[in-house]
Each structure stands twice: as structure tokens, then as C-alpha cells.
């Protein structure tokens, strides 16, 4: 499929689900979608369009938690980013691990660093932070404050 065909197919197939569409450049497309349709769209893009899952970026923009799921279609050099916005107080989103295994690590990472809850994610253990790290403190949140009073932030010179 060419780039134009993919864009029109996505637009017509999921017309009710797409909130915003930004054609940034020849190889970059940003698409804001409704959170509940994430799993169907991701499955379609990964399985039917044979895209490769790059990664997901979680962003705390102070009003929402945004998650961007980046997919690349290598044959036509197109990077599609699906943006979902979830509630900042109680961020919950469907897990994509049932669609492809590659999503496992990044979801565990976002769960720790941003406090996003992934429904259907089988593995809820910590991936990066240590066991002493307090529950409910997420370092990549915009309101993160240092909790450790023993930490030394002084070079001593």
C-alpha cells in the first residue's frame, strides 16, 4: 500500500475513533485516537499493515497523561504515532501485550515511571526502580518531588 492509501484507509475505517489528524511531514503522521479503540487500531496496523512497533512514549503534560504508540512501516518509510490521552488522576489503558509481545517491557516501564495502569498486562513486577522506592511516586510525572531526604546533591567542593 502507498502512503495515501494507508491514510485514507485509516481515516475511513476508524472515522469515529480519530479525534485529530496531523500530517507533519512525508514520513511522520500523528493521529489522536480514542483510548478504547487503541487495541483494535494497533492490531490492524501491526497485523494487516505489517508495521513494526517502535516503542511507546508516555508524556505528562500537566493536564493529561499522553501515550504515543509509534509504529513504522519500513517498506514506505512511514512513522505513524497514535496518541491517546488518559485521565491524569487515574490513568488506565488497555495493554497491547496480547497483540504483540514487544509491548511488554515498555508497558512495565511506563507503569513504574508514570503510574499508568495497563489492563491485561500479565507482569506487574518492577522493571527498573529498586525495592526501596516508595509506592505511588513516579519520577517522570511533572509534579515529582525528591522524596529521599538522605540524598546528597552537593559535590562537596
Amino acid at each position: 500500500m502507498t502512503r495515501e492509501e494507508i491514510v485514507t484507509t485509516l481515516k475511513s475505517r476508524y472515522s469515529g475513533q480519530i479525534i485529530d489528524f496531523l500530517d507533519k511531514s512525508k514520513s511522520r503522521i500523528y493521529m489522536e485516537i480514542k483510548p478504547e479503540s487503541l487495541r483494535t487500531i494497533a492490531a490492524y496496523v501491526f497485523k494487516e499493515l505489517e508495521a513494526r512497533f517502535n516503542t511507546a512514549s508516555g508524556v505528562d503534560n500537566r493536564f493529561h497523561i499522553e501515550i504515543l504508540y509509534h509504529f513504522t512501516i519500513d517498506s514506505i518509510n512511514l512513522l505513524i504515532s497514535f496518541r491517546v490521552k488518559v485521565n491524569r488522576e487515574n490513568p488506565v489503558i488497555d495493554s497491547l501485550t496480547s497483540v504483540f509481545k514487544g509491548a511488554d517491557f515498555i508497558e512495565r516501564e511506563m507503569h513504574e515511571l508514570l503510574g499508568i495502569e495497563f489492563t491485561g498486562q500479565p507482569d506487574k513486577r518492577r522493571l527498573l526502580l529498586s525495592d526501596q522506592w516508595p509506592e505511588g511516586v513516579h519520577p517522570l510525572r511533572s509534579d515529582y518531588k525528591e522524596w529521599d531526604s538522605d540524598a546528597i546533591r552537593d559535590r562537596g567542593v
Partner: protein, 142 residues
Amino acid sequence: MSITLNALLKSPWVFHLSSGSCNNCDIEVLDCLTPRFDVERFGIKLAGSIRHADVLLVTGSCNRKSSARIRKIYEDHVPRPCVVVAIGECSLSRGLFIDSYNCPLPLDRIIPVNVYIPGCPPKPEAIIAGVVKLIQRLKASV
């Protein structure tokens, strides 16, 4: 000079410990052992296990998860006498990671350090010079 220390200085076996580094210092440590620099001619050898080591080479900025292990390794596993060498800017003062949420303490607040080798990363020549200085100082002190 005690016999153990004398033996240690003749052929110090080093164990290399990375506490959250970027690999650069670690590779340069390893480089010292390969043919260009070849520190084995001075009797310095990389030990396969912590329990065989005389010198602990620590690199990296000591993040929360690994600093607990470092403390445990130093207190329980290393045979005495043991000297600790901090290699690279990260293990000296944590370098640019000083403000990182996951690097709360510098290495010398976790375990005592005998020699500091600065650099990001220190060249193999600097590492060799640091180890030589350490041996000289230990010889002078006893």
C-alpha cells in the same frame, strides 16, 4: 610489611564492578588487559570471582539498586585486605548524574575508597598510572 600485603602488591588481582555506568570506563578497564596495554605483565589479572580479588575497581554512578549490592559485596564477600579504586567521573562525584533521582549517594559515602581516577572515561594509561600510584602508596605506608 605483612606477608599478605606483600603478596598482594606483587600481583594484585582485580575484580571489576559496574554500578550503573555507561560502559566506557568498563571497556577501558578491559582494554588495559588486552595486547596493546597488557597489564598482565605487571601481574595484574582480572579475577573471575569476587572472592579471589584484592582490588575492587568500581565504575559508575551507584544507583539505588546496585549500591545496596556494592555495600554487601564489600562487607561480606571480599577477602581482606582489599583496596577500592574508583574509576571515572561517575564514581567520583556521579558526574552529570548528580541530580538524578536514582543516584542518591556518591561511591565514597557507600564504601571507603583508596584511589580516585578521574576522567570520562579515563584513558587506559591513566588507569595504569592510578594503579601504580596505589601500589607505591601502599608500599610507603607499611
